[in-house]
Symmetry: C2
Subunit: 305 residues, 2 copies
């Protein structure tokens, strides 16, 4: 099936935003947000048998691909504007696979008001490789980021940690769950959090990136971390949960005097927000175990190759 036909049949119906120009051109043309705004750009590339299983449902892969990109926008505090897709198909792909992938991506783009504006397809690969670039916007100068935390700031995490890692080890792939990017939370953290990251590599790794980008160290109270999935409440299992990754929660630094505003925000958004540690001078990630020991794990998260 030629590339032009795949695009016209399966993707054009999901790319009806005027900026996509009916996918007639090799580029999208997007009106700019009002003055005083900035453009936020993120790109995540995922590959079969590296980031997902070849046997995963195409609808799961599509939803996950958009979610991981929107999670990066959430960590910056941005509002989604749109996205473009790079679709690398393997030799012998089926039209059914493409149809399911395109329909799920279209539905997810609609759900998060992040219209599909264009992209490119390639076939003849050994295994699927997907690349999505997502755009967002926010008022100038208000972008969050890994740098900016100050000594004394509290470390806060949204939701529960470790659920995705637990499911990956214990549940059939058919039951994998597409994460929900924390867009509303990220947007609300502008002007409140001093630094922010999404938890993709693992809570310890991502908290460590915030600390390093802010030239600080971070203490994490392992017993305070809200754990999802079926992990036991032992230190050993908790360490697995906080290094498993793929949570797509936000971990952020908050000046202690902002705690009342944060509690109000958590209630407004119906979002669990938990203080799990503190930033301070120095470097490194220091994990306080329930038995009183303080350790610096050599492995903080999952390294994707």
């Amino acid at each position: 099936m030629p590339e032009f036909d795949i695009i016209a049949k399966h993707f054009a119906p999901h790319a009806r935003h005027p900026a996509a120009r009916g996918l007639r051109d090799d580029a999208a043309v997007l009106p700019l947000p009002p003055q005083g705004h900035e453009l936020v750009i993120t790109k995540d590339m995922i590959a079969a048998d590296v980031h997902f299983f070849s046997t995963d449902a195409p609808a799961f892969i599509a939803g996950w691909l958009l979610a991981v990109n929107l999670s990066d926008l959430a960590a910056m505090g941005a509002v989604p504007l749109g996205c473009v897709l790079g679709l690398g198909l393997p030799k012998g792909f089926t039209e059914d696979w493409v149809a399911r992938f395109a329909d799920a991506l279209g539905a997810a783009c609609e759900k998060y008001a992040c219209p599909l504006l264009g992209g490119d397809t390639v076939s003849g690969l050994e295994k699927p490789v997907l690349s999505l670039t997502a755009f967002g916007t926010l008022p100038s100068g208000e972008a969050l980021g890994r740098g900016g935390a100050r000594a004394g700031d509290l470390l806060v995490v949204s939701g529960d940690i470790g659920g995705a890692g637990w499911r990956l080890q214990h549940v059939a792939t058919a039951e994998r769950v597409v994460p929900t990017p924390r867009l509303a939370l990220g947007q609300s953290l502008r002007g409140l959090a001093t630094a922010c990251a999404d938890v993709s590599d693992g809570l310890l790794a991502d908290a460590g990136h915030v600390a390093a980008a802010s030239d600080l160290s971070v203490d994490i109270m392992l017993a305070d971390v809200p754990i999802g999935g079926g992990w036991a409440s032992t230190d050993k299992d908790r360490l697995k949960a906080v290094t498993a990754g793929d949570d797509y929660e936000l971990v952020f630094a908050l000046p202690p005097e902002e705690l009342p505003r944060l509690l109000t925000l958590g209630q407004q958004l119906a979002c669990k927000l938990t203080v799990i540690g503190q930033l301070r001078a120095g470097g490194g990630v220091h994990v306080h175990m329930r038995d009183g020991r303080v350790i610096t794990p050599t492995r903080l998260g999952y390294e994707h190759g």
Copy 2:
């Protein structure tokens, strides 16, 4: 070599634009152009042994990857703003390959004032897959595109056609040449051309896309097409040249009364511009051969899978 180290060592030195934020975050933050402008977004994905040879020099691959994206911006009339890279590396990639690729991409980004703002790397693939998303800008409402040509418009092409196709068939891969995207020409065609495309699939195919998007047919005088490379001047060889693709010249529709302005423009830009045909009512691509026959080739260009 972990992903964070590859990025820090080989890509961060080429991503010094403030919008890249030192590649510290998973997103770039780009100030918007002044009001009254639009954002143009294009994405091309290329794969080893589909679009380039695994044996191609990494510097060639990098230069070509940027050029094909900038050629899409040129066809819209846009001025480059920046780009993000998806780098899919094969199992057993060498750091030397990454270093050569990154240095060449950095140099090309600098040459075309299209700063590298971020991206994502993946390793563990069977073969390299590269995906680049490039951004540009232009005054609102002035984007060119495949649609918009009118019956009676002349069909014009820049440069020579078929040179890349000839080299692909006749020259060692070590001598492959990175194309030069026609950015200045594309920007100058705003308000002058009624429709425009870059010649990537093949001159006949891309002229056909312009005609189809404009609901017109196109007549092409084969003898008038300026041919590059070592093709013979027979109809048979000329047909190979105009269906070979990878020229990255611009093919566009021009109202006949604008011909004097176009000739002046060609002189200003020192760019060869040749009238090769005309758009008219109807549909399809009609090639006028030197022996007087008019044919509609079944194969208009190269289909990448």
